[in-house]
């Protein structure tokens, strides 16, 4: 048993933490959300240069990491800084799917991803699918040269800045079947694909996607036809590990901010951190955040386990993260008083971002129910 980081990972963590501390400011984040791209070009380039994107991919495809603990490390630091870049979408979801399923031509994109030259979003969830990965209504019918896609994709994160999309669509099976789902690599400029872009709570941008008779060549298909579900589930597991680690970083940042506020804010002639009522709640928060850290480690360490074992950990971790996130958000705002409610103060951004973690890849209750189901199996 060893919970220390390897030397390389330690170096990456130190370097990334320093870089983000020096680079990320509230102004940079606000500008990023307001920009059309929804992220900061400079930060993206900086991350690529540091090798952060490469750390999300295994050596076989030109990266130098790709293990659960690499994801955890990178995303915890992003969370700690309150930063958002299309790392999850490009590096873990779309990039991960291409790395796993792509043919050689498609895999050539990975090199560009790692270099920071291209961004790809994953258009999977739909207006009615909520958090169910198998619920795909978008259709891919046979067309003259390959396929014709029709459907709608919901809250496609980081869509506005993407040059390509990995889009899921049904080539067979019924609405909620695992079988029959295919993936396609689609260029953002293709005819019939339109986006309605908008900012999201907690920073960054997303879009609603409409696919109207989008004609694709045969070689747009990613992996085997109708058999994409297992890969989607694995990608979602890795993404869940990543957002959970990001949540952990956000929690740590919020805890540091709150602790230092309790030390400095004076009421009734003393720092409010001297009131036992608040001390006990800070102590509880600390205990819960340590639980969150362990939960992230549990999942990061089981991403390569067999399916049921892995998915039990996905649900266990996401449930716990959801619960602790809510506690940390609500308690930290409360203990700050009025200042905790203001947009301008650093807590607001972190708290909103942390809250939104529960709205991606399934909320605490969704995973509680799923954990029970998987445990009974």
């Amino acid at each position: 048993m060893n919970f220390d980081l390897t030397e390389e990972r330690q170096m990456l963590q130190d370097g990334l933490r320093r870089y983000l501390r020096d680079t990320v400011s509230p102004e940079l984040l606000a500008r990023a959300t307001e920009s059309e791209a929804g992220h900061s070009g400079a930060l993206w380039a900086g991350l690529a240069e540091m090798g952060v994107i490469g750390a999300l991919f295994p050596e076989e495809v030109g990266g130098f990491g790709g293990a659960g603990f690499d994801l955890a490390l990178v995303f915890e630091e992003m969370g700690r800084a309150g930063a958002f870049e299309p790392l999850l979408e490009t590096g873990v979801l779309a990039g991960g799917l291409i790395a796993e399923m792509g043919d050689d031509a498609q895999k050539a994109l990975i090199e560009e991803i790692i270099a920071g030259a291209v961004q790809i979003a994953f258009a999977h969830a739909e207006p009615g699918s909520r958090y169910d990965l198998e619920r795909v209504a978008t259709s891919a019918e046979p067309g003259p040269e390959g396929y014709v896609l029709n459907g709608r994709k919901a809250v496609v994160a980081a869509a506005p800045s993407a040059q390509h999309f990995v889009v899921s669509a049904r080539t067979g099976g019924a609405m909620a079947d695992e079988d029959g789902i295919s993936l396609f690599l689609v260029s953002a400029g293709v005819a019939g694909l339109s986006l309605r872009a908008y900012p999201v709570n907690g920073g960054g941008r997303a879009a609603e996607m409409t696919l109207e008779n989008v004609a694709l060549p045969r070689d747009a298909l990613l992996g085997a036809r109708g058999a994409a579900f297992p890969a989607i589930e694995r990608a979602a597991a890795r993404a869940t590990a990543a957002v959970s680690a990001e949540a952990l970083g956000l929690m740590e940042a919020i805890r540091a901010l709150t602790t230092s506020y309790l030390r400095t804010r004076q009421q009734f002639g003393r720092p409010i951190g001297k009131f036992q009522a608040l001390q006990h709640r800070m102590a509880d928060m600390l205990i819960e955040i340590e639980q969150a850290r362990s939960a992230v480690i549990n999942l990061a360490g089981h991403l390569d386990a067999e399916r049921t074992e892995r998915e039990r950990h996905v649900s266990a971790t996401k449930n716990l993260i959801g619960r602790v996130a809510r506690l940390v958000v609500e308690e930290s705002i409360q203990m700050h008083g009025g200042i905790g409610m203001t947009q301008e103060y650093a807590l607001a951004h972190l708290a909103k971002r942390l809250t939104m973690v529960d709205h991606r890849f399934g909320d605490a209750d969704y995973h509680l129910e799923r954990f029970i189901r998987l445990s009974a199996a």
Partner: protein, 398 residues
Amino acid sequence: MDLNYTDEQKAFRAEVRSFLEENLPRRLSDKVAGGKRLTKADHEEWHAILNARGWLAANWPAEYGGTGWDAVRRHIFEEETTRAHAPRIVPFGINMLGPVLQKFGSQEQKAHYLPRILNGDDWWCQGYSEPGAGSDLASVKTSAVRDGDAYIVNGQKTWTTLGQHANMIFCLVRTSKEGKPQEGISFLLIDMESPGVEVRPIVLLDGEAEVNEVWFSDVRVPAENLVGEESKGWTYAKYLLTHERTNIAGVGFATAGLATLKRIARLEQSGGRPLIENPFFAARIAQVEIDLMAMATTNLRVIAKTASGQAPGAESSMLKVKGTVIRQQINALTRQAVGPYAMPFVSEALEEGGNAGPVGPDYAMPATQSYFNNRKLSIYGGSNEVQRQIISKAILEL
């Protein structure tokens, strides 16, 4: 023990209900129900409608143009108006300043200000909190120095709700540094159009500029604007807070919020079925509904005790804590219910007749915003920690 309303109270409820059906503009109730932004004019419109019926000042005695209702009638009125999604009554003039002037104001102040509150001539805001004086309100620093027939006011107030709409502010100011901090505080009425008053908006984490900083530099305030006696302001301030905390349980708001939550949970799909049929989510709703049912009775028990029109004492702290926690739980469940559509933030979609439509269902963004915005419920009006402190001292005598 009799849990039923009297016939006369039931008739009153029916009267309120039919009044609302006829007089509450659909445009306003749609905005409230849909979580849209209310403008100053919207509030004024609703106040004027209530005032025309003589129902604006539910908590004032009839001699001042109020309804003279007892606590039970006020409660029924509150239940019916929130159920109908009427805009809330802006509390600063009606619920806060009014009772203070009636009890401690001069004849001239009462004759001048009370009708103006009812007629909507003045929009008041509350200048209690300062950057250094929140829970520890007695440490206010904004100073008022007597200069002939005026006070010269310097300092800063903060968190001033809807101060951007207000032309008048009632303030706690320091007129003396002698003795205990509570002893040198005075209660002063300040015209915000006076030279030296500056209002700066504060945007809250839901993106809305709901509160403000109000700065005073050498503002001349006529001495006749002092309420009661100089340096007795703390007594008046506390009297006001007890009135601020009446109806603090917010049972009406919680009931309306629960109805909205259920409506959304019926519309949202989870696993191909309405979310409300998901046993996990149904259990969460049931739990908070059960709490609310008991809370409604706790509220009525306190109301019954104070049916004579008096403000409740330390019991109101109980209502504040439990009432706000229940409302916040409903907000959290509503946010949870909207799923991934909690994420889009399209500010323009809250504007009446705006160009940008909502992303996803129209109830989604207001659900997220209310969740963030209502974190305030447990912070203002005496934070829940301060209320617990009051309960442990005044009720438990610990």
